[in-house]
Each structure stands twice: as C-alpha cells, then as structure tokens.
C-alpha cells in the first residue's frame, strides 16, 4: 500500500490535472444524481398538479443536466487519461535511466526478463490503476455519498432501507473479491505451469524427437492442461452464481422500493393524508438503477488496488537499486589515453565465496598485445572486466596511464576502451548501423576498415551493409554475429581493445585471419585477447596464464611451453589432433 502512495509522488506533476479531474467528476456525478430529482418534480408538480409548463421545464432541465454532466465527465476522463499516461511515461523514463545507470554487479542480480516486465506490464498496471481505478473509486464514492444525501432528502424511511442495502452490496462485493483473489492466483499459477511445459517442449523439440518421447510429453501436457481446466471450471461456476446475484440485488432494490413506497402511497390515499408521492417513488426507482452498479464495480476496483500496489512495489524496487559504480566527485576526463594499464594488488569476487581474481600485479605497456589463457573459472574474464570498470575490484588499484580508473568519468573512460563480451549482443537495424554503434560519425571508411579486420566483409558483401539483421542479430549466424561485434569494437577506435573469447564460433581459418589482423594492423592500440585456445593467442607479445584467479605465468609462447606446467598441459590436449 505504501508503495501505492509513493506513486503519487510521480503524479505530483499532474496534481492540477488530477484535482480538476476529480472536481469535474464530482460535478458530473452530482448532475447525474439531480436527474431523478427533476423527474420527481416533473411528475409531482407537472403531471399530478396538471401544469404543462413545469413538464417542459423538467424536460429541458433533464436535457441540460445531461449535456453539462456528460461534458464534465468527458473532461474528467480526459484529465485522468492524461495523468495516467503522463505518469507512466515519467515512471518508464525514471526506470530506464536507472537501469542504464546500473553497473554489471546490478545486472548479475536482475534478470533482463524481470526488468522488461517491470518497465512494461507493471507500469501499465499502475497506469490502468490511475485511469480506471482512481476514476471508479472517486466516481463510486461521490455517487454513494451523493445518492444517500439525495435519498434522505427525499424520504428518510426508504433512504434508510436503501442505505442498508447499498452497504450490504458493497460488503458482499468486497467479500467475493477477496475470496476470489487467491483462486485467481492459483489459476494463474496453473496457467504458467502449463505454458512453461509448452515452452520447454518447443525449445527442446529436437531432444523430444531424438529420444522419441512424444507420448510422454503429451501425457505431461495433458496433466497440466487438466489441472488448469479444473481450476478454470471451478472459478467459472463461482462466477456463474455470483455475477447474476449482483444484478439481482439491483432488481431486488427496485422491487423493495415499489413495495414500501407503493404501500405508503395507497395508505395515504385511503387516509386522505399527504406524504410520499408518486414522483418520489419514481425518483427512488432511478436511484436504485443508478447506485447499485457502481457499488459492484467498487468491489472489483478494490481488487485492482492490490494488483497495482504489487506492481508499484516492483517498480520501486528497481528505482531503489543503487548503481554499483558511481561517478566520482571531480571526474577526470580521459583525453588522450595511451593505453598503459597497471594492476596493483587486485583482488575481486562476485559476492560470497572465493575471489575470482586474487592478488594480481601486472603492468601492460601502451600498444602491447596481450593474450590471456586459462581454464573456465580461472578468472580471465573477471580480470579483463575490471579495466573498463564493469566491476570494481575488492582490493587494489587499477591505473590507466598512471591515473586510478576510479578518478575517471566512467562513461568517458569506457568510450576509450573497446570490450567485446563472450555473448555478442547486436541491435536490430543494419550491419553498418551496428558496426558504427560506438562511433556514429565514423562513416564509411571506418566501418569498412573495421569490418575488414574482423573478416566480416565476405558476408557483408553478400548481404549488404544496410540489410536488417533482425532482432538481436537473429538473421546472422553465430560466427557472423561475433565478427560484427568485433568490428563494432574496432570502429569505435578505442585506445584499449579487449576481446573476451569472441572467436569461438569461427572456423579455424577465419579465426586465424581475425587474430592476425588484430595483431598486425592495430599499431599503438593496447590489445588483450582472452581465449581457451592456444592458437588464438600464440602470436601475442606476452601471454598471461591464469589459474584459479591468480597469474600462473607470464611470457611468450616459447618460454611458457618450457616453464609453465599449466600452459604445457593445455597445449598437449589441444595439439593431440596432430598426431
């Protein structure tokens, strides 16, 4: 609930909109409620009294009330809609800025799917709450209060009966909804279960066929399908009984009014006294038709509150998250980076457990070409990811060109460092657009130069520079995606280039050409290539062998083969092919 109130902070910008929306809504409801009063007056002082003029006045009055009331409703609706959409836009913007400010530590905690749901459907739920929920709550509340006042003004006894009935309806409606909510959650869970089974079956289509398990899969699905069916039928029955009952309450109220009011009119007639009039009866009849429905709706809307409140909570969880890496107070702008990198006593870990990188000391000269090799979990990628401050080390200092990297403006620093991660992610659009992502002003020549080194030209020539590569590059093969990602890093003309095992999907020859180009054509650029394959990094000026988070050896291929046990072992397994 508190989260829902925090939402109002985002509505503050629309405070004037919202207040006018509420005022207009109140006007519209009150005018609507005046209609039965006019009907009463037209009947009693027009028809019963036999005065035609009053009838005309009544008719015109109802007509005017209709115009003004519904105009007010229109304006109010518009203001609610604008506020809701405006708030959704603000929330999305805040969340997006927050997500973009996240460091990699934050991303290890948040799954992308989670973030997407929050930016999309949670914001929508909250928006619908403002648009429909607040609107209906306000409308119902004004309607209930207004109609009770109007009814008491008309006849106290009938009004008391109606007030009782209305209170009962509201209580009933709320009870039903709170009873239904867990059922709905259960049904939703069954449906998710069903859909997960489906998703797995589709994703594992080949395994299902290879292992010949179609009938098993059918049984599994049948079971889940049946489970959902049972739940859906149960809820369906419940609704079948409850919904018509709610409508019945309205009709019951009408009957009750006729009975009580009619009896009084007849008794008054026989006693010759005046009191309850026919016009008042008709007015009550109209109130009953108008007031019961919003009560039913109010019960439903209250259910909305808990949904919206859950969504609001999920939204604020994102907004509350603290970025793992923050901007220094007086950031140094990395103007001209030469590319000297020093690791000074660096230890780093991802939360609990053993550190992924332990006490690393290393200096890399500007323009040096470094290869890093080691088994999975040896800390190669972790070490490299510290350079552009994707993570901060737990201990020690990293300097680039002699300056502690924590003193640089991290965004500007990253622009000077090209890092290609293991799983290359591309954006929809053309190949050119993707390659020039980090350097949009680069132009044709840069794109071609980068694509040339990345060995991407053959397939670019075939597909064309501007052909769409599909969402996340799905129209390209894995190897093609890797080459575009490499070209993208090159095109941003970084001072330091880091390639994290990005040639795994390339065939031997292509891979060799890519590495050759990188070693030979990037004069002055500091390059770190991470790989599990010796042949990829063999030509490096220096090779760093990582093992269990530590540097186990530094040297050239030739020296390492001789002095480094781990390196030699890796070489042995990889060269077996030759014999």
């Amino acid at each position: 609930m508190t989260n829902l109130f925090r939402l109002f902070a985002y509505l503050r910008k629309f405070a004037s909109f919202m207040s006018f929306a509420l005022i207009f809504l109140a006007i519209s409801v009150v005018l609507n409620l005046t209609q039965p009063k006019l009907i009463e007056w037209a009947i009693d002082s027009g028809i019963t009294a036999g005065i035609v003029r009053n009838l005309v006045v009544g008719g015109v009055g109802i007509f005017l009330l209709g115009i003004v009331g519904n105009l007010a409703n229109l304006v109010s609706g518009y203001l609610f809609i604008r506020s809701g959409q405006g708030m959704a836009h603000e929330l999305r913007g805040s969340m997006f800025r927050k997500v973009v400010s996240f460091s990699f530590i934050n991303f290890d905690k948040w799954r992308t799917g989670e973030l997407m749901v929050r930016l999309n459907s949670d914001v929508n739920t909250v928006r619908m709450f403002v648009r429909m929920g607040l609107f209906m709550i306000a409308q119902s509340v004004v309607m209930i209060i207004g109609s009770v006042i109007f009814m008491f003004h008309t006849d106290v006894r009938l009004a008391s009966i109606m007030a009782l009935l209305m209170g009962g309806t509201l209580a009933f409606s709320i009870t039903i909804v709170s009873f239904l909510r867990p059922l709905f959650l259960k049904m939703r869970a069954k449906l998710d279960d069903l859909n997960n089974t489906l998703q797995e079956n589709l994703a594992g289509a080949k395994v299902v066929r290879a292992f010949n398990r179609q009938s098993f899969e059918k049984e599994k699905f049948e079971l889940k399908n049946r489970g959902f069916y049972m739940m859906a039928v149960k809820i369906g029955y419940f609704f079948s009984i409850v919904l018509p009952f709610m409508l019945f309450i309205g009709n019951f109220a009408i009957t009750l009014i006729l009975w009580v009011g009619g009896t009084e009119i007849i008794q008054n007639y026989h006693a010759g006294t005046t009191g309850f009039t026919l016009g008042q009866l008709i007015a009550f009849n109209n109130y009953a038709m108008m007031a019961i429905f919003p009560l039913i709706m109010l019960g439903m809307v209250l259910n909305f509150i808990s949904m919206a409140s859950a969504s609001a909570e999920r939204i604020f969880q994102v907004l509350k998250e603290k970025p793992g890496i923050s901007m220094p107070e007086n950031p140094v702008l990395p103007e001209k980076i030469r590319g000297k990198i020093e690791f000074d006593g660096i230890s780093f870990g991802y939360g609990e457990g053993e550190d992924a990188v332990q006490d690393v000391n290393l200096t890399i000269a500007p323009g040096e070409k470094i290869g890093i090799i080691g088994g999975t979990g040896s800390g190669k990628s972790s070490l490299a990811s510290l350079i552009p401050r994707l993570y901060d080390p737990r201990k020690g200092i990293i300097r680039i060109d002699g300056v502690d990297i924590r003193e640089y403006n991290p965004i500007e620093l990253r622009k000077k460092i090209g890092i290609v991660l293991q799983d290359p992610i591309l954006f929809s659009g053309g190949i050119r657009q993707n390659i020039l992502y980090g350097n949009p002003e680069g132009g044709e020549s840069v794109a071609e130069w980068a694509a040339g080194i990345a060995q991407a030209m053959p397939f670019i020539d075939e597909k064309g520079w501007d052909s769409s590569i599909g969402e996340r590059g799905t129209h390209l093969s894995g190897g093609q995606r890797q080459r575009v990602a490499i070209a993208r890093a090159l095109a941003s003309k970084p001072a330091i280039l880091i390639l994290d095992d990005v040639t795994s999907s390339l065939d031997l020859e292509t891979e060799r050409n890519v590495t050759k180009g990188i070693y030979e054509k990037l004069d002055g650029m500091t390059v770190l290539i991470i790989s599990q394959k010796i042949q990829t990094i063999k030509m490096s000026d220096r090779i760093i062998v990582m093992d269990k988070g530590r540097i186990s050896g530094i040297g050239t291929h030739d020296t390492l083969i001789q002095d480094n046990e781990i390196y030699r072992k890796i070489a042995e397994t990889q060269d077996e092919f030759i014999h």
């Binding site: 009907i39 009838l55 609706g77 997500v99 992308t112 290879a210 019951f252 007849i266 026989h270 060269d575």
Partner: protein
C-alpha cells in the same frame, strides 16, 4: 513411400508475426485488440465444430438465456402496470401487493435463469479450450524439425498462449453476452410496440443517432488503437532491445543517447495512448447523453401525453419506458465490446488452426517395419533446408555395422545435416538412406529413433532434476544403471558435487551447470539408452581442455561395439575412427583412414598442416 513433399511445412510461407509482438498489456476494456480474422466465417465454422456434441448444451443454454431475457423485459412492464393500476387509478393494497410479489418472482426467476445459462456454458467453453490446447499440442508433437527451423518458438508459443486465451475470452462469455444483447434489444422493442407506439417512437427516434455515433466512435477507436498498438509494440521492442543490450550500451558509454531515444519512443507511446483511450472514453458519456435526451423527452412529451389522455398514458407507463430506455443502451454498448472480443478470438482461432493445418513432413509409411541393425548406406543423398540452397548433393557411402565414422569439414558444410537425415529429423530430397538394406522411410520412426543415441552440439535439458533428465531417454532404467552410466561418462564425480546430487534441479536448459558438465550429462543420458547407433555432434567445442579429456574418455568407452558417427574438430577419437569423411561444398571430397588421408595430401592434409604450422613447437615439446 515417395520422397515428394506434399502440401507441407516447406511449401508454406512462414507464419506472420502479429503486430505488437508477444508482449501484451493486461486485458481490459481499454486494451481493445483491433485485429480481425481474415476469414471470419471459416474460422467461426471451425471453432463451432469444436462445440461438437456439446451443441445441445449450447442450445439449452441459449434457450435459458432467452427465457431470462423475456423475464427481464416483463419486469418493468409489471412494475409500470402496478403503478398505473394501483398507485394512480385504483388504490387497492391487496392487488398491489400481489403485483409486487409477481415482480419479485419474475426477478428471482430471471436470476435463476441467468445462473443456469452461465453454469451450462462454463463446462462447454472450458471443454472447448481444453480440447483446443490438447489438439494443438499433440499436433505439434507430430511435426518434424523442419517446422521448428522455420518458425520462431516465440511465435508458436504466442499462438498457444495469447491466441488461445483470446479464444477463451470469446467462447466463455462473449457468445452468451452477444446473444443476450440481441435478444434484449429485440425483446424490449417488441414490448414497447405492444405497450405504446407513440412512446416507442420517442425512444426509437434516437436509435439512428445512437447507431451513427456508435459507428463513428467505433471507427475512430479502431484507428486510434491500431496506432496505439503499434506504438506500444515499438516501445516494448525498444525496452527489450535496450535491456538485453544494456551491457553493450554501457561498454560503449552510450547511455545518454539511449535515454534520449527511449524518451522519444515513450513519449510517442504516451501520446498515442492518450488519444486512443480518450476516443474510447467518448463512448460512455455520449451514450449517457443520448440516454438523458430520451429521458427528457419521456418526461416532457410523455408527461404532456399523460395530462392530455390519462386513459391511455400514465406515470406507470412512463416508468416502464424509462426503465426500458436504460436497459436498451446497456446491451447496445455491450454488443460493440463483445464484437471486438469475438473478432480477436476468431483471429486467434485462425492462427491456432494454422498450426493444426501444418502437415508433418516426416511421416511413417503404412507398413512400417521395425528397425534392425546392420550396415548403413547413404546412396546419392540430396538435401536442402531451403529451396535453391542445397546443403548436400549426391552423398554416397556405406558404414559397416560397428564401425566408427568421423565427419569433418568446414563450418556449414553439412556435417550435422547428415546426421539429422539419419535420425529422420528431416527426409532426404533425393536418394535414400538404408539400414540393413531397408530404406529408413519404410521403418517405424519409433524403433529407428529408439536405437539412436544422440549427443547434440548444444544439449537441451528440462527444468527438472538431474535424475529425471538422465532417465528421459529410458524410463525403465534402474537406479544402478543410472549410476553406472554416469560413472562411465565421467559425470558421477561432478553430479555428486552438486548441492543435491542427482536430485539437483537444473534450471531452464541447464544453465546452472557449465557447458562441459552439460555435455557429460548428455553423454550419460545417451549411454542410458544403450543405443545401437551413436551420434556425437561437436560434443566438445567450447569446453576447457581438462573437461574435454574427460569427455573424450567417456566417448571412447561409449563407442565400443556401436556404429558411431562423430563430428568434431579435434577429438583424438577421430584418429582412431575406422573412416573419416571429409565434406566440403555439399560433397564428400575425401574419405579414408587418418593415415590414408594424410598420405593423400589433399584437403584434409592441408587443414591439418594449417593447424600444425601453429603448433609445431608444441609438437616438438610433446614428442
């Protein structure tokens, strides 16, 4: 069986993506989907066929709805009558009370009728959805891999979830509501005709205005929502891309540009949303206004008529008409809403039926004979995934029983395809594959695949325990056999280190264990099947060297006594293969044992030399 492709997965164009993508907002009156079925009647007819034996229930339900509507129409007439007769003319309390009880009885009956018709429909509609889901799922199980290559899993998924939910929306209540709405309008019109023509004219006079307004607003709503949906789709695409690519955004320091771009898309979505919601919002106040007009005229003109001719007109009659005019507008509003739901339900049905109309390419012949092991012969095999892009051309070779065949060649040469054909995941376009002299297309697919043990390049696991995943290929295996297999595959060591051993839950696709470990599990799973033909597809790419050795060891043990196919770059087992097939440019360009191929000094020897030149120093060291 002929190899010709009938009206099949291949000849159909790929499924069209629906606008807006798979991300959908919560359902509600303001999320009107504007899509409609291409063939409204066709889809309706097929969907109705699903009602099948339940048509009787449906008819009964419809009949009860009719009764309920009639009762609902009679109600206001009885009420008006009571007022006219006993509150205006003859003030008889006893007769009045009788009328009140009749009215109450009518409303109670109407309630019961409504409950009855709804209860009837619950089972009917849920049965339909249940069957639809089952049929679609079961049908997909019969489809071959071609289908999954062509269609995006997300798209199939969306059809079986979103579309079926849309159908559910249509069948569960909407048919009922539409029926009720139409009945109500007819019933009220009829009652008004019977009661008083002149008052009817007052109400009716506004109908054309209402219909025109409804039509205009409806059109505008449709147009506005189409734009809105597109913008919302753009927004969710943008969100998806930015969030999945946020690491790239950060590594390139492009945060500011992305924020600006996002704000723009978000603003567009906001403006389109405001427009669409407002146009939709117009409906209710406008209709309310028309209703006020009717009310004003009933009171003004109707009241005047009562004064002039109180024998025919009365306050009670006016009351009846006021109630009718209110009841008249509600169904009119409902029908427009329901129409949209039914439309999108039918559009969904069309897409689901499209799946069910897809015929499997790989089908079992009528007189399929069981698999019997023996020599495997490929003769003149041609195959293409897409027309005009041949992958294999005229592949011919024979593998004697129990031999190990290695398949090598550059990426994309068709190595995996060869194996896909052997398992009949696809059928050859031309030529044949025979095992023990029998064309595999004449074999029972079940027995053929049961005899295969496949370890795929990227092994897939289900989100369940290690144990259940291992037993996936052989439910009958004992616990002991499973341990044995895991040991043989060098997997038992790492499994025992998992938090709950064999009962550890694997997350979706087994992402919580390393790639090498996934391979070991996949090999264990294959061993447990005790297959007579073993297929290993690049089982060791992208795995670190130590685990690769373990995998190789496991593979060697597994191959003993089985006809085996290995696709790999640098497995030592290739050396020991009885024969190596080198595939390049759709053909087998070389074949022979390892030493024969090296001696031949052709393509394979060159490939070798290239690697050798890079590692010659190592070779010196090792040898």
């Amino acid at each position: 069986m002929s190899s010709g492709k009938t009206e099949s997965e291949q000849s159909r164009p790929p499924m069209k993506r629906r606008p807006g993508g798979p991300v959908r907002g919560p359902r509600g009156p303001h999320n009107v989907t504007v899509e409609s079925a291409r063939d409204f009647r066709g889809a309706l007819k097929r969907l109705l066929a699903y009602f099948g034996t339940q048509k009787i229930f449906l008819a009964i339900s419809g009949f009860i709805v009719l009764i309920g509507v009639i009762l609902g129409v009679i109600g206001p007439a009885v009420l008006g009558n009571a007022i006219t007769n006993y509150l205006e003319r003859d003030f008889n309390l006893t007769l009045f009370m009788r009328q009140v009880f009749i009215l109450l009885a009518i409303y109670v009956s109407a309630w019961i009728a409504e409950v009855g018709s709804r209860v009837m429909l619950v089972k009917v509609s849920n049965n339909i959805i249940f069957n639809l889901r089952r049929n679609a799922f079961n049908h997909i199980q019969t489809l071959s891999m071609t289908y999954f290559d062509k269609e995006d899993v997300g798209e199939i998924m969306s059809r079986l979830t979103n579309d079926i939910e849309a159908i559910e929306g249509a069948v569960s209540n909407s048919f009922n509501e539409a029926l009720r709405g139409v009945f109500s309008i007819i019933g009220i019109l009829f009652a008004m005709v019977m009661l008083n023509i002149r008052l009817l004219l007052i109400v009716i006079a506004t109908v054309p205005i209402m219909v025109i307004i409804a039509a205009i607003i409806g059109m505008k709503v449709r147009a506005a929502f189409r734009i809105n949906q597109q913008k919302v789709g753009d927004l969710s695409t943008r969100i998806q891309e930015s969030v999945t690519g946020v690491k790239v955004i950060k590594t390139y320091g492009r945060e500011q540009e992305e924020i600006v771009g996002f704000e723009r898309v978000s603003e567009e979505a906001r403006d389109a949303g405001i427009r669409a919601e407002f146009v939709a919002h117009l409906f209710s106040p406008v209709m309310q206004f028309v209703s006020s007009c009717i009310l004003a005229m009933l009171v003004g003109i109707g009241g005047f008529l009562v004064l002039r001719n109180s024998a025919v007109f009365s306050v009670g009659l006016l009351t009846t008409f006021i109630m009718y005019s209110r009841n008249f507008i509600v169904p009119l509003q409902q029908i427009t809403g329901v129409y949209n739901i039914i439309q999108s339900g039918l559009a969904g049905a069309e897409r689901v039926f499209e799946i069910m109309d897809t015929r499997p390419v790989v089908i079992e012949g009528p007189n399929a004979i069981p698999f019997r092991q023996g020599d495997i012969t490929f003769s003149d095999v041609h195959f293409a995934y897409e027309k005009d892009k041949p992958v294999l051309k005229g592949i011919t070779f024979t593998v004697p029983l129990g031999h190990v065949t290695a398949i090598v060649g550059p990426t994309g040469a068709g190595k995996t395809t060869l194996i896909n054909l052997l398992g009949r995941f696809y059928d050859v376009d031309k030529g044949s594959i025979r095992i023990n002299g029998t064309d595999i297309r004449d074999m029972s697919i079940n027995t053929l695949r049961s005899s295969l043990g496949v370890v795929l390049q990227e092994p897939f696991f289900f989100a369940t325990t290690v144990r259940e995943n291992l037993l996936y290929g052989n439910q009958d295996a004992t616990e002991g056999q499973m341990f044995e297999a895991a040991k043989l595959a060098n997997a038992s060591h790492f499994i025992s280190r998992l938090p709950k051993g064999y009962d550890t839950f694997l997350t979706e696709r087994g992402q919580n264990i390393s790639q090498g470990e996934r391979q070991l599990l996949a090999i264990t799973r294959a061993i447990l099947r005790n297959p007579s033909i073993l297929i290993l597809d690049e089982a060791t790419s992208n795995v670190d060297s130590l685990i690769e050795m373990q995998i190789q060891e496991a593979v060697l043990k597994l191959m003993k006594g089985r006809t085996s196919f290995i696709i790999a770059h640098r497995l030592s087992t290739i050396k020991n293969a009885d024969r190596i097939l080198v595939i390049h440019n759709h053909h087998i360009i070389e074949e022979g044992t390892y030493s024969e191929l090296i001696e031949k000094n052709g393509f394979y020897a060159n490939l070798q030399a290239m690697q050798q030149s890079q590692v010659n120093i190592t070779e010196d060291m090792v040898s």
